[in-house]
Amino acid sequence: MSEQASHTYAPPPAGLPGLSSERKIPTHVPEGLVFDPPFEVANALTDPFSLNKKTYEELPPVFWWPRARPGRFDGTWVVTHYDDIRNVYQKEELYSTEGTANFQSLVGETWPMLPIAVDPPEHGKYRILLNPWFSPKAVAAMETNIRTTINDLIDGFQDKGEVDVAYDFGRVYPVRVFLDLMGFPQEKLDEFLDWGYSILHSRYKIEKIQYGVSSALVFLRDFIAKARENPVEGLASYIVHGKIEGRALTDDEVIGMVFFLWVAGLDTVAANTTLMMRRLALEPEIQATLRAKPELIPDAVEEFLRVQPVVNSSRLVKEDHEVRGVQIKKGDHILCYNIAGNFDDEEFDNPWELRFDRPSNRHFSLAGGPHRCLGSHLARRELRIALGEFLRRIPTFSLKPGVDHTVTPGLVATPHLHLVWDPKQKP
């Protein structure tokens, strides 16, 4: 496929929207280290992440990104090399997660997201409460339920020869699994989907995001109050009655955990599913490989996680220090640029090649260190089952002709992606 990816790697021109006077580049940032990488730039490439190829190859390994996007945060340091990224994830004494995933602040809430937004050793107290629910063993016990959920959805479109795989599949099944895990009624599915969609796909319409957040909080608070009186099955009620260091959790701690679990599991699996199916639709030879050898699916999921990292974690710097000779100050932010680090050729041979037989695949798409993604084993299992069942039941599929297949290489990949196949054909 002869697609040309192009992006200018020059410092952002003065007067770009979002670079307001309050967002001046700090004085300790050297002028030559300011760059605007192609982060989450919508494109129609076969590998939409390949826009970032030159970020690793041509930019300094540590640079300052003024985040020249309308309405987006202040500037941040960016590390693009695998070893530096690992260092940031692992050194909790230098890098804090304070303020991470702060959606709740949009509606005036002040409690932190738990456990993600607290540092060790506090973090561990919350984490040990949740770990047994998300261990590989606990997640393996959910296999049948996940498989049934996914097959129910496929039942609905298998014979039609067409599906909007982003909207009617990737968006839906993780929420169904989540409702069962938490002990929330499946009748709430449409409302949860609506709230999640409002948060994730509202662009800069702040009122829509606030609507999604506050509606979810109303439901969650009501559920929590009832579960305090009458414990029920599921993780939400377990958290309500959970204890840390022998004491009961406060209302804020309960809502911080339950709300965070919802936000964290909402979009990540959906985006990964959509991007994975899109790649398979554009490259039918990959479908053929996996149909012939379904035993490759776990390694394929691992490789898809590596080449389509939808999360690039940010940390708050706790102490002045240097990274590769660059002065980093307390209070700066630093971004683990997985979309470059997962393609570091010191760690991965031929990093831009999609390969299901890598001798090791130690990507950080699910973060690392103490804050390693709590739901990583659930996400992996969901993706494996989704990919396996889709290929087992749907014959060779492609993108629907004439439909836009532009995606944003990130957490909010695309709201719609139409696939087609011949329903008379056997998978």
């Binding site: 261990s135 590989p136 001798p359 690392g368 990583s376």
Partner: protein, 70 residues
């Protein structure tokens, strides 16, 4: 061949377990590594090496590897 595991720094990726199997790399109920050292049974060296190499945190060290270079 022997493995030494810095379990304190295990972050629960469980990649060793997924790649090298539960016999060599047992997990505890939290899904973190359940051992701090392992005498690799004869014939299991390659699997142990793969499991060790799968750890993103690099907390698994291989000692006395008969096939190690140098």
């Amino acid at each position: 061949m022997k493995l030494v595991i810095d379990a304190e720094r295990c972050a629960g990726h469980a990649r060793c377990n997924a790649v090298g199997g539960a016999n060599l790399f047992p997990l505890n109920d939290d899904g973190y590594i359940g051992i701090t050292e392992l005498d690799v049974p004869p014939g299991q060296e390659a699997l142990a090496r793969r499991g060790a190499r799968a750890c993103p945190e690099r907390v698994i060290t291989i000692l006395d590897d008969p096939d190690a270079e140098g």
